[in-house]
């Protein structure tokens, strides 16, 4: 029993953490949060099922195509819902534009794909049971992303350009960095990460359009608790969230588990609005 709580909890926690990282990568590039992060996770699962199970593609091809679709959707988010409203950050229009875009994609999926959860194909041809792939695939995805981002930020100039833009957008522009192109690339990267989360977690979450609002919320909790833009915080918070949810599930049952998660979330947030690891923002008049 403990074993399954832990493996399920950590696995789903990795998915939440990855969506949190998706939020963070978009935030670092543009200073805004996008509602499309959860939708990307949903798309990873739905498209994976579409390409591999329904259309019969080989697993590798379906995987790459799903990631490509994620990158594309990330770029679309930037062009359609973020760039036009960046000039007016105080009006918070990005909340509405990204919400609208996310809703459009969710509804489209519900109509064109299915309103019921569909099965996600078994990715590796191995028998079920033990420490099953539906558990370690999300964990592997999380490790790959975390390590990959480290390598990107530490060892490539593009990665360091991302960090520069995240820290001081104005100075980056003045230095001559191609700020717009880098922002689009960040969003494409975020798209890939989100789609990867959904794909790796496909067997656990199934291919279901309603995963989008669920991931939008559960993927944001790691960001809120771990601090804006803080990927390490997101991973730790995501894992803790996954475990907490499973324990609550076990103790009080599925529905009250979500009540428990939400209650803890709101209490922590009210006590420390900047998150457990974040820094308080000084107000400038």
């Amino acid at each position: 029993m403990i074993e399954s709580i832990v493996s399920y909890g950590l696995a789903v926690g990795c998915i939440y953490a990855l969506i949190g990282i998706t939020y963070n990568v978009m935030f670092s590039a543009s200073r805004v949060f996008s509602f499309t992060s959860g939708t990307l996770g949903m798309l990873g699962g739905v498209l994976g099922s579409l390409f591999i199970a329904r259309m019969g593609m080989p697993v590798a091809a379906g995987f790459l195509l799903a990631l490509a679709a994620g990158a594309l959707f990330g770029i679309v988010t930037e062009i359609v819902a973020v760039r036009p409203v960046l000039k007016n950050l105080e009006q918070h229009l990005y909340v509405l534009s990204t919400l609208a875009l996310a809703l459009m994609i969710q509804q489209l999926t519900a109509i064109e794909w299915s309103t019921e959860p569909q099965p996600f194909p078994r990715l590796l041809n191995v028998a079920r049971g033990g420490f099953d792939q539906q558990f370690w695939l999300p964990m592997l995805a999380c490790i790959v992303v975390v390590v990959g981002l480290e390598l990107l930020y530490r060892h490539t100039l593009v990665g360091r350009a991302f960090l520069a833009i995240a820290e001081d957008n104005y100075a980056a522009r003045a230095l001559g960095l191609p700020e717009r192109r880098l922002r689009m690339a960040s969003y494409a990267l975020a798209g890939v990460i989100g789609a990867l989360a959904g794909f790796a977690g496909g067997e656990m979450l199934l291919a279901f359009f309603a995963n989008a609002p669920m991931l939008t919320f559960y993927g944001f909790v790691p960001v809120a608790l771990g601090g804006m833009g803080n990927n390490r915080g997101a991973v730790i918070a995501g894992l803790l969230l996954g475990l907490f949810e499973q324990v609550a599930n076990f103790l009080v049952g599925g529905i009250f588990a979500s009540v428990a998660v939400f209650t803890v979330f709101i209490i922590v947030l009210l006590a420390r609005p900047e998150g457990l690891a974040g820094a308080a923002v000084q107000r400038r008049v």
Binding site: L157, R160, A161, L163, A164, E167, D168, Y170, A171, A172, R173, A174, L175, G176, L177, P178
Partner: protein
Amino acid sequence: MPISGADALLDVAGLSAGYGKIGVLHGIDMTVGAGEVVALLGPNGAGKTTLLRALSGLLAWSGSIRFAGRDFAGASPRDAVRAGLAHVIEGHRVFTQLTVLDNLLLAAYDLPRGERAARVEEVLELFPEIAAKRHGRAVALSGGQQQILAVAQGLVRRPRLLMLDEPSAGLSPVLVDRVLVVVRRLREAGTAVLLVEQLIEKALALADRVYALARGAIVLEAGTGEADLPHRLEHAYFANTNRHP
């Protein structure tokens, strides 16, 4: 001596710019010749920083800006850098979470990969005090060293015109002199410099020509060799004082 429009490296005519509804610059005319050091002086709020931002494309403007024979209409900061115009912004803003080396490599972003390391080394030779800390993160540098790093960033692309926005702000006198020595060497090497400064005596000692900006317009243009300059500047700043009954 004044440079005629024809051979000026930078030729600005009728430049106006502002922030939203607030107009800051009203019809600026100025030139900078190749290899010249030009000082831009003026009280706070006059529009000096706004002028530099317009020139490098960080701010929208109207009027005419020509640089090295190119029309700068619609040019982005990246276009400006590629054309040879570098802008070291105010406030010694460097990327504190990255190393000194990374800060300089980012300045070389648009250069071919093979050249980047060489250019960065070239610049580090000019500034031994930060060369010694090249692998440390910029956050560990003092304010003055960060300013030196920012100037170094501007030099990576071997610009034809380097614009410095108050490089002495927050620096100890020793470091101020270091920066100004570099500016002098740049002039000798043929790089033009447009220097916005608060320290008038030091700027005048270094520059060939000076413009004084007040309330968004040029109120004085002179060669630094001319007589009575400090007095004329003071008068230009505090002019238009209307006495009312």
